[in-house]
C-alpha cells in the first residue's frame, strides 16, 4: 500500500487574473514503511504538496491515491483520510487551545467520534509516546509548558488519531541543536506506530541521515526522487537549485578532488570518520 501521486497539478485561484501554479505535473510514489524526505527552497511547493495528502487541498488536475482512498472522486472520504494521514504543521505548538493537555490531545479522537474510554486510552498512549509523563502533565494548561513540551503535546495531538502515515512540516524549526536531536529521535521512535513518515526539511544534514528516499522540489516541480547517496552525487545540480549537500558529503568530494578517494560516500559523521580511519590505517600498511 502506498501513496500514489499522478500528474498532480495545483493552481491557486484558477480562472482569475491572480492564478498561480503552485504544483506542476507531480508524479510520486511513497511506499508504506518508508521515511520519505521532501526538500526544496522556500516557495518550491513542499507545504502545498503535503496538504494534498490529507485532503486539505484538492488538486486542480491529476490523481492522488492514499492507500485505498481515492482523492480524485467528487467526495473523497475525508474523515477516514484524516485518520489515516496525520499532518503536523510547522510550529505546531501554535495550534494548542484547550484547557488541559489531556483535552487538547483528545481533540482529534473526539472529532473521530470515539467512545470516552477509547479517547482516554489514546490520549494516555499518545502522551507517553512523545516522551512526556501523563500524570505530570495531563491536567496542566498547555500554555504553561515549555516550548519543547508544547511541541511534543502538539505532536501527541496528531498521533492520538493513530495515523498510518505521519507527515511533518519542518519538525525541528526554531529548535536548538539538542531540541532538534530530541525531536528527530522522537520521530524515529514513532515509526513503530506510524510506519510511513514524510518529513519536509530545509536541513540537508538532518534529513540525509534518516531518509530512505528524498524528493527535491523546485518551483512546483519534482526534480529528483532518490536515495540520499545517489542524490548527493548531484551536488552541482543541487547547488544550482539553491540547496546544499551535507557537510560530510562536501568533505568527501573535496578529498576526492585532491586525489583521496574514499570507497563510499558517507552521509553520517560517524561513517566518514570510519572511512578516514580505515584509509589512514590502510595507507600506513
Amino acid at each position: 500500500m502506498s501513496i500514489v501521486v499522478e500528474h498532480l497539478n495545483f493552481t491557486y485561484m484558477p480562472d482569475t487574473p491572480y492564478a498561480k501554479t503552485a504544483l506542476k505535473d507531480i508524479n510520486l510514489t511513497i511506499n508504506e514503511g518508508e521515511l520519505f524526505g521532501i526538500i526544496g527552497a522556500t516557495g518550491s511547493g513542499k507545504s502545498t504538496l503535503i496538504q494534498h495528502f490529507n485532503g486539505l487541498i484538492k488538486a486542480t488536475e491529476g490523481r492522488i491515491k492514499v492507500f485505498d482512498i481515492d482523492l480524485s472522486v467528487k467526495k473523497p472520504d475525508y474523515k477516514r483520510l484524516r485518520a489515516t494521514v496525520g499532518l503536523v504543521f510547522q510550529y505546531p505548538e501554535y495550534q494548542l487551545f484547550d484547557e488541559t493537555v489531556k483535552a487538547d490531545v483528545g481533540f482529534g479522537p473526539r472529532n473521530l467520534g470515539l467512545s470516552k474510554d477509547e479517547i482516554d486510552t489514546r490520549v494516555r498512549e499518545a502522551i507517553s509516546l512523545v516522551g512526556l509523563n501523563y500524570d505530570d502533565i495531563a491536567e496542566k494548561s498547555p500554555f504553561d509548558l515549555s516550548g519543547g513540551q508544547k511541541r511534543r503535546v502538539a505532536i501527541a495531538g496528531v498521533i492520538a488519531m493513530q495515523p498510518k502515515v505521519l507527515v511533518l512540516d519542518e519538525p525541528t524549526a526554531g529548535l536548538d541543536p539538542k531540541g532538534k536531536k530530541d525531536i528527530l529521535r522522537l520521530i524515529l521512535s514513532l515509526r513503530k506506530a506510524s510506519p510511513t513518515v514524510i518529513i519536509i526539511s530545509h536541513d540537508m544534514d538532518e534529513i540525509a541521515g534518516i531518509a530512505d528516499r528524498i524528493a527535491v522540489l523546485d518551483k512546483g516541480e519534482v526534480k529528483y526522487v532518490l536515495p540520499p547517496k545517489e542524490l548527493f552525487d548531484k551536488a552541482e545540480e543541487l547547488s544550482e537549485l539553491g540547496l546544499d549537500v551535507p557537510e560530510t558529503v562536501k568533505i568527501y568530494k573535496e578529498l576526492k578532488k585532491r586525489g583521496i578517494v574514499l570507497p563510499d560516500m558517507p552521509v553520517r559523521k560517524s561513517e566518514l570518520a570510519r572511512l578516514i580511519f580505515e584509509r589512514f590505517k590502510g595507507g600506513r600498511g
Binding site: 499532518l87 504543521f89 501554535y94 487551545f97
Partner: protein, 278 residues
C-alpha cells in the same frame, strides 16, 4: 483563500486626487457624506451624481474598482429597498397584489434611498482607493491633533491604527494556518447548526488570541528598542502640505454641498428663484 477580501484597496496610479493632502480628502469625504444625507430634491441628486462622476474621472481609478466596492453592499441595498417598497404605504397605489401594495411614494422613496447608499459607498471608496493606509492614518492623526489638549493619546492611536493595518494580511494568513491545522485533526467547520459551528470556532479563536498577545509583547519590545515614545519631540517623515489642488477640490465640494443644502431647504424661494428648485 482569505486573501481575496479587498478593503477598497489602494489603486496605485498618478492623479490629482492621489496627490491631494489626505486630511483634505478626509474632511471633504465627510462633507460629501453629510451632503448625501441632506439631499432631497432631484436636482440635488444630480449635483451629487455629477460631483461623484467628476471625482472618479479625475482620480483615474478604474470604474471596475469602484463597482467592486459596491459589490459588498449590494445585498444590503437590495434588501432595504425591498423592505421600503413593501412598507411605504403613503401615496397613490401603483400596483397591488395580495397584501402587498406598491405606491408611487414608495417607489420614489426607495429609489432615493438606494441612490443615497450607492453614492455613500462610491464616494468613500474614492477616498480609500486614492489614499494609502499610511496616508490615511497620518491624516487622521494630524486632524486629531487638537485632541491633544484634552490629553487624548493621538499619536498612540495613530500607531495602533497603522499596526492594525499592517497585521491584517498576516493575521488572516495565520487564521488560515490554524484552521488547516485543526482540520487536519478532524475539525469540521462546515456542517452542523449555528451553535455547533460557533463552538467549532473555539480551536481557532483561542490560538489566534494567544498568538496576538504574543505578537503584541514582541512588538512592544521592538518598538521600545527603537525609542518609541509619545513626546512632542517626534518628527514626521512624510510631509503633508496643501497645494492648489486641495483648495480647488475643496472649493468645488463646498459649492456642491451648499447647492444641495440650498435646494433642500428651498432657500432659493427667498430670492424668487423658485423655478430652479423643482
Amino acid at each position: 483563500m482569505l486573501n481575496n477580501i479587498s478593503f477598497g484597496q489602494y489603486y496605485p496610479v498618478q492623479s490629482v486626487v492621489h496627490r491631494m493632502d489626505a486630511r483634505v480628502k478626509i474632511l471633504l469625504s465627510i462633507l460629501f457624506i453629510v451632503a448625501v444625507f441632506f439631499v432631497q430634491t432631484y436636482l440635488g441628486y444630480v449635483v451629487i451624481f455629477l460631483l461623484l462622476v467628476t471625482m472618479i474621472a479625475v482620480s483615474h481609478v478604474k470604474l471596475k474598482s469602484i463597482l467592486k466596492s459596491i459589490k459588498g453592499v449590494i445585498f444590503l441595498i437590495v434588501f432595504t429597498a425591498v423592505l421600503n417598497l413593501i412598507f411605504t404605504q403613503s401615496g397613490n397605489t401603483l400596483w397591488a397584489w395580495w397584501i402587498f401594495r406598491l405606491t408611487d411614494e414608495g417607489v420614489r422613496f426607495t429609489a432615493m434611498m438606494a441612490l443615497r447608499l450607492l453614492f455613500l459607498v462610491m464616494g468613500t471608496s474614492i477616498l480609500t482607493l486614492t489614499t494609502t493606509p499610511i496616508e490615511l492614518t497620518d491624516g487622521l492623526e494630524s486632524l486629531m491633533t487638537p485632541l491633544k489638549w484634552i490629553k487624548f493619546p493621538v499619536h498612540d492611536v495613530a500607531v495602533i491604527m497603522s499596526i492594525a493595518l499592517r497585521f491584517i494580511p498576516t493575521l488572516m494568513e495565520e487564521t488560515d494556518k490554524i484552521m488547516m491545522a485543526q482540520k487536519a485533526r478532524g475539525a469540521d467547520f462546515e456542517s452542523g447548526n449555528i451553535f455547533k459551528r460557533i463552538k467549532a470556532l473555539v480551536p481557532i479563536i483561542i490560538p489566534l488570541f494567544v498568538s496576538a498577545f504574543r505578537r503584541a509583547e514582541e512588538l512592544s519590545f521592538a518598538m521600545d528598542a527603537r525609542c518609541y515614545n509619545s513626546s512632542s519631540k517626534r518628527t514626521r517623515y512624510r510631509k503633508m502640505s496643501l497645494g492648489f489642488r486641495d483648495f480647488a477640490a475643496s472649493f468645488v465640494v463646498i459649492v456642491c454641498f451648499l447647492a444641495v443644502l440650498t435646494l433642500t431647504y428651498g432657500w432659493l424661494d427667498r430670492f424668487g428663484l423658485v423655478w430652479l428648485g423643482w
